[in-house]
Symmetry: C2
């Protein structure tokens, strides 16, 4: 694909009580424009990934909203929504826009402001990603992922300590990321002792409620020092877990990664760094299996052994940003943040958390409990 | 552009108390698939245009939702939102997807179920298309368009009777469309006597609250009897009327139509039929000026003279479907319905409301009070 990432920008993620969605977007986009060394007038289209602004803030029409806010009212602008995969889907829409030839340079903005609302309202709105059957049953997303965790434990002997090791790793990585929500280190013991959210998932198995924005500028122009996008794919599955053939895998992740490897002409063995969707610790374990990095049932022990941790991995490092768990999970921003982290790694500009061998990176963004999965593969 | 419309499908529009969004989508999409003479497995991506499902129905994630409902879970699927331009934006996203080469055949589904909710909740949710300033001021969309109407009347002497003639024409067209919400004819007098909604706009100057779905199948394949898309463009403007330079035009419409004529290599004079965004009668008047069909300030009298009415026009016929006013306005479906009507006209299969000379058609879909405008130009 003849398409490059010209620049990236990101805000700090976290509970940003003093920040507005407008302010967050301005910061992330200004940085991306500066990084790309373009004038904002060169942007021909804006793709906004956001899930909750309508339900929680009564503000829809975010394409035009942010085009105006960024001072480029006039350009093509679209809001893309696919639950927690909204950012990844916005990225994919932007890729198709550039490849179409109708646009040369476009902006992807992922943004979410979650902390301004009551936690119970946020939890309820997030269930808009699931099925009506699930909402009526009263289950929450921690509950859905707890069901997946239990099925994985039953099938493969995955342990709660192994799941905890995902959080420990991702908090370690987050501690090296100035923009991450959390900088505190966890231990297996501290995760195991944290309060139960939905058995077997504990508080520290769960990604937090976060605010933040991330921006990426894509171009079809030939540029120097750009990062190439070599795959951009989407796959879907049923909204309800009850309609799935298996609870120990996300078939959308399996399907989308197969498509993406074919599109990029690489295999899972070629990936040096990956940002995967660890909304809950079990999600990262399943992702590393479904993406083909480990055999089914093997990922948990590999993660626990430090085999995807910065400094101890000799092959693949996962979630150097800190992942959703450590870096935070402002839902519409997450899929775009993953791209920002990969680009910054591939460009060798992330300081302490730099992965030495980082030539090819993969992002994996999931909506709901796996009804949407988006994969991008980037190359230096 | 090497892209064709292979098939279209639509439901009846109206207050469909017994219909669900799922059911509406199934009907529209089944018809489109049958019309395109393809197997549903050939669909590689789904683009859903919808505005209100999250805010009113708590159901987001409609890409995956409808892919599952249509029995094609697995494919790429995305929800696109841009207020009342959601359908047009979904169409544009689908066009870029096919032109990108990543997808060959894709489905656009516009769907909205508005009547299941209290009218005041619908009115409030619709204000998600406007700015916070407008929401806090307590203004509604009829109020915003009333301001535009008053400005137009002041600047050009446009009369309430001339505005009423838009509704009379569109109800006449709707009376010939079996799928339209309204089949009753209006007179200037009946419009003028209808209750005042937001002075100078009366009830019959306003499009209704509606349910409905429309579907279009696009393909990059060479096909027989397809309709070609020769332009697909989007432009934006400020959300707030208060930030606009002029209240007598929608600059997004002016900009997007200029781009579209250039892209298609045609002028406004080449357009035989147009489906324009007449959410209020004043909106059609402004649209016909901003799209370049009439000089500024001239459209109202031309419409009143019957110059864009079926049977009496010798040049351009506008809103043969009945428009938003007569056919109904299920917001996310409207932009897709416009395409369905144009295709059916260009293919000469709309019976009584057939425009004899229909070679090139234009659709014009607006979000909010003009913050988003989408134009497509189609050719037989």
């Amino acid at each position: 694909m003849k398409i490059s990432i010209a620049g990236t920008g990101i805000t700090k993620f976290g509970e940003l009580w003093d920040a507005s969605p407008r302010g967050l977007a301005r910061v992330a986009v200004s940085k991306a424009i500066e990084d790309a060394d373009i004038k904002k007038e060169e942007i021909g289209a804006v793709f906004v990934g956001n899930m909750l602004s309508g339900m929680l803030g009564s503000q829809e029409h975010l394409g035009a909203f942010f085009a105006e806010e960024l001072g480029i009212a006039g350009v093509s602008a679209t809001k893309i929504e696919g639950a927690c995969a909204s950012g990844g889907l916005a990225m994919h829409a932007a890729v198709t826009a550039v490849l179409s030839g109708l646009y040369e340079t476009v902006l992807v903005l992922g943004v979410e402001k979650m902390t301004d609302h009551k936690p119970e309202d946020v939890a309820s709105a997030l269930m808009g990603a699931g099925s009506e059957e699930e909402r009526l049953s009263g289950v929450s997303f921690p509950g859905l992922y707890a069901l997946l965790a239990r099925a994985h434990m039953d099938a493969f002997g995955t342990t709660e300590e192994q799941m905890a090791s995902v959080a420990v790793k991702n908090h370690y990585h987050a501690s090296l990321n100035p923009n991450a929500q959390f900088h505190n280190l966890l231990t297996i013991e501290s995760v195991m002792k944290s309060s139960c959210v939905a058995d077997p998932l504990k508080l520290y198995d769960c990604s937090p409620i976060s605010d933040g924005a991330a921006a990426v500028i894509l171009t079809g122009k030939k540029i120097r020092n750009g990062v190439s996008i070599i795959a951009s794919c989407v796959a879907t599955d049923t909204l309800s877990l009850s309609r799935r053939k298996s609870l120990t895998e996300l078939s959308a992740t399996r399907e989308v990664s197969k498509k993406a490897y074919t599109q990029a002409g690489v295999t899972s063995k070629d990936i040096d760094i990956a940002e995967v969707h660890d909304c809950f610790s079990i999600a990262e374990i399943m992702a590393l299996e479904d993406l083909g990095f480990f055999k089914k049932g093997h990922a948990a022990r590999e993660i626990a052994k430090g085999h995807v941790t910065l400094g101890t991995s000799d092959r693949l490092v996962v979630n150097t940003s800190g992942g959703l768990k450590g870096c935070g999970h402002p839902v519409g921003a997450t899929g775009v943040k993953q791209i920002v982290e990969l680009v910054d790694q591939l460009k060798g500009r992330v300081g302490e958390r730099q992965v030495k061998k980082s030539r090819i990176g993969l992002s994996h963004n999931v909506g709901g409990s796996g009804a949407t999965a988006v994969v991008h593969i980037l190359k230096k």
